[in-house]
């Protein structure tokens, strides 16, 4: 059992030594115990019930709003000419953006051998799945007549009617559904060994059968592990391009149109950076309380938070750069409509939303240059919530300002959401948190099997290299003796 001090600052970089990614008295057994215990509590805490009750009620509100929408029609929303894309599209882009952190953490960081991903990937992938579910909901209800949704699929028919393959909205259908499928497979497949652990520890009949079926007969044999690692690598390679492609395609919804403020080549990278930015912010928003409540500080260490904060800082700076360079592009294009659009964003009737966006996304995350702030979970939580707010407003600014004032002043208009819009958006958070709380209650929230691969438990007493260096300094250094010999 390694006894690394729990308060060790593992954010330091020491050449030649690897920072420990698991702190405290953690070994293989204790990690199993620590993670499984969360899903094995006989009954959830009162706080869980409170949170679950709230989010389930909000989910009910969501479904009530959907029922009202389907019964009455799209007129219950604030959309009209000229702003025909209102909350539904804003929320879609918001949620699908959040859904980007999971695959980035699980696939790209995996391929780059970033071991710190192991403690947070399960969590981030779950968040991705739930966010994409919320995202998929909005375009589905925005089409107005959801019972015709099968028209989105290219089904052969006697009318020779096909979806418009030149429309980015159709590309969206394929991009998002592919992303959801791959993310779900990745999440579930990665969870199989841990589900088998829960199965083996299960006491009640129901849990034995449920986890038993979910674990697909995993026995942990060498052949199982071999196939598993292969499949995981392949899925990671499959998922990696999706991280970049999905939000690029989402940005095409805007960029392929002719509207000033949308029609810009900067959109795909700008959207991808924004998506990763918002995704990591949402991971932090959820992770920091969960880490505290379930006492996971030994697994999700300051270094994990520090790394995520750095990614937020990097992508936030990219987003801020995009905001500024958009003004340059507008001016440099020489297009008066383009210039007007950006001046209108910053100074027009929706300027308040622009400045909320700019403050939350471009200014507040710059605080993360300070290491002390990156290591204060409470402050990180606050900053991440600001980023979430800012990224929602970014989509609001893009959708509403461009549509409400385009080329002809005679066709200008004003958009305000109705109470149905607001409650539907709120309800989507209910759905998200309901799924998330069920995840916390029933599934292994940390990838135990993967974390165990970074526990320096084995071979510590064997000296340097076996235990990957002695960063934490309690084990006597043997480098010098060896060198002298």
């Amino acid at each position: 059992m390694s006894a690394i001090p729990l308060d060790l600052d593992n954010t330091l970089e020491r050449p030649g030594e690897r920072a420990p990614l698991v702190l405290g008295k953690s070994d293989l057994a204790s990690i199993t115990e620590q993670v499984c215990e969360i899903a094995e509590r006989p009954r959830p805490s009162r706080e869980w019930w409170l949170a679950f009750g709230t989010s389930a009620s909000l989910t009910f509100v969501l479904f009530a709003m959907l029922g009202y929408l389907f019964w009455t029609g799209l007129g219950v929303w604030g959309i009209n000419q000229p702003v025909a894309w209102g909350f539904a599209i804003i929320n879609f882009v918001f949620w699908v953006g959040i859904g980007h952190a999971g695959t980035l953490i699980s696939a790209i960081l995996f391929l780059f051998r970033q071991k710190w991903r192991t403690s947070i990937n399960r969590f981030a992938e779950a968040m991705t799945i739930f966010a994409v579910i919320c995202a998929g909901l909005f375009p589905a209800i925005h089409v107005g007549r959801p019972w015709f949704e099968y028209w989105l699929a290219p089904l052969p028919n006697q009318m020779q009617m096909w979806p418009n393959f030149r429309s980015p909205l159709l590309w969206d259908v394929f991009a998002v559904s592919t992303y959801f499928t791959v993310s779900l497979m990745f999440w579930y497949m990665g969870m199989v060994p841990d589900l088998a652990t829960l199965r083996d520890r299960a006491r009640s009949k129901i849990r034995q059968i449920a986890y038993g079926i979910a674990a697909l007969g995993w026995r942990g044999s060498g052949r199982h592990w071999h196939r598993y690692e292969r499949a995981y690598l392949l899925l990671a390679a499959l998922a990696t391009p999706l991280v970049l492609s999905v939000h690029s395609v989402v940005s095409f919804d805007f960029a392929v149109s002719q509207l000033p403020g949308w029609h810009a080549t900067i959109f795909p990278p700008y959207f991808v950076a924004g998506a990763i930015f918002s995704g990591f912010a949402m991971v932090l928003t959820l992770l920091i309380p969960v880490r505290h409540i379930f006492r996971l500080e030994s697994l999700i260490t300051p270094r994990h938070l520090d790394n995520m904060a750095k990614i937020i800082l990097a992508t936030g700076s990219m987003v801020g750069y995009s905001y500024i360079i958009e003004f340059f592009i507008a001016w440099y294009s020489g297009n008066p409509y383009e210039s007007f659009t950006f001046l209108n964003r910053a100074l027009g009737p929706y300027a308040w939303s622009y400045w909320i966006m700019f403050t939350c996304n471009a200014i507040i995350p710059q605080l993360l240059w300070f290491k002390r702030l990156r290591q204060t979970p409470g402050l990180l939580l606050v900053i991440s919530i600001f980023v979430n707010i800012g990224m929602w407003f970014e989509r609001f600014v893009i959708v509403v300002t461009s549509l409400s004032r385009d080329f002809l002043p005679s066709s200008w208009g004003v958009y305000w959401p109705t109470w149905v819009d607001l409650l539907t958006f709120l309800g989507s958070f209910g759905l998200f948190f309901t799924l998330f709380l069920l995840f916390l209650r029933f599934l292994p929230i940390v990838a135990m099997a993967e974390v165990k691969s970074v526990v320096p438990a084995a071979g510590l007493e064997l000296g340097p290299h076996r235990g990957h260096g002695q960063y934490w300094g309690e084990i006597p250094h043997q480098h010098d003796e060896e060198n002298e010999r």
Binding site: M161, A202, G212
Partner: protein, 222 residues
């Protein structure tokens, strides 16, 4: 749960071994299902090809349009100037049948109708859905022959539908009209054959007349 498992541990019961062969069966039968789906979807039963209702009068197009060589427009008078190709009134039949076979029992219904003034209840064969707008005159003016859509009516004892009249079938011609075009004055010639390559012949006619069939939704769905 079987006893060979450790107590308290879930083991997949033996019947789950059947899932794999079952999956194999599904994978094998799936193509068969798809083939059957396409086959049945395109079968005449589904598309109404061969629809041949019994008419109240045993009128033979083979006799009138074929052997006697009557022009289509003698009876279907409005076809060149209206959307609808008129079904002739009984008076048109009686133009001849007052003299020709005036006492034939097969023409009893026609004579009754002529006497009473009530039209003969002909059954419509080529019936498009109400949401599809079709104009005969436009097609005739462009040089689409009667036979292109209705087939060789001059050989039919009883008229039947020979094409699906589906939207895809319409679009096939609207997207590539050349092989179906002829000089507009020859539209009612049932046995007309293009001199040389029909597509090439049609292309020249199309370019000369500036024919540009629309494939917008509102061309047919107004």
């Amino acid at each position: 749960m079987k006893s060979d498992a450790e107590p308290g541990r879930f083991v997949f019961p033996a019947w789950t071994n059947l899932i794999r062969p079952a999956l194999a069966i599904v994978l094998v039968t799936l193509p068969a299902y798809l083939v059957a789906l396409v086959w049945l979807g395109g079968s005449p039963k589904t598309t109404d090809v061969g629809y041949r209702p019994e008419q109240p009068v045993p009128f033979s197009h083979a006799l009138h349009a074929g052997q006697l060589g009557m022009d289509c427009r003698y009876c279907h008078t409005t076809v060149e100037r209206a959307a609808f190709a008129a079904i002739p009134p009984t008076q048109t039949c009686m133009n001849c049948h007052k003299q020709v076979r005036a006492n034939s029992p097969r023409l009893l219904t026609v004579r009754e109708s002529y006497a009473s003034g009530l039209p003969i209840p002909w059954v419509k064969v080529h019936d498009l859905p109400d949401y599809a707008y079709f104009n005969h005159s436009a097609h005739l003016r462009a040089g689409v022959g009667c036979a292109s859509c209705h087939g060789r009516v001059d050989t039919m004892e009883v008229v039947q539908q020979v094409h699906t009249l589906s939207m895809g079938w319409c679009l096939d011609c609207h997207r590539n009209p050349d092989p179906h075009l002829r000089p507009p004055e020859l539209v009612t010639v049932m046995d007309w054959v293009a001199p040389g390559d029909p597509a090439e012949h049609g292309r020249r006619l199309r370019e000369a007349a500036g024919i540009n069939p629309s494939v917008d939704c509102w061309t047919c769905h107004r």
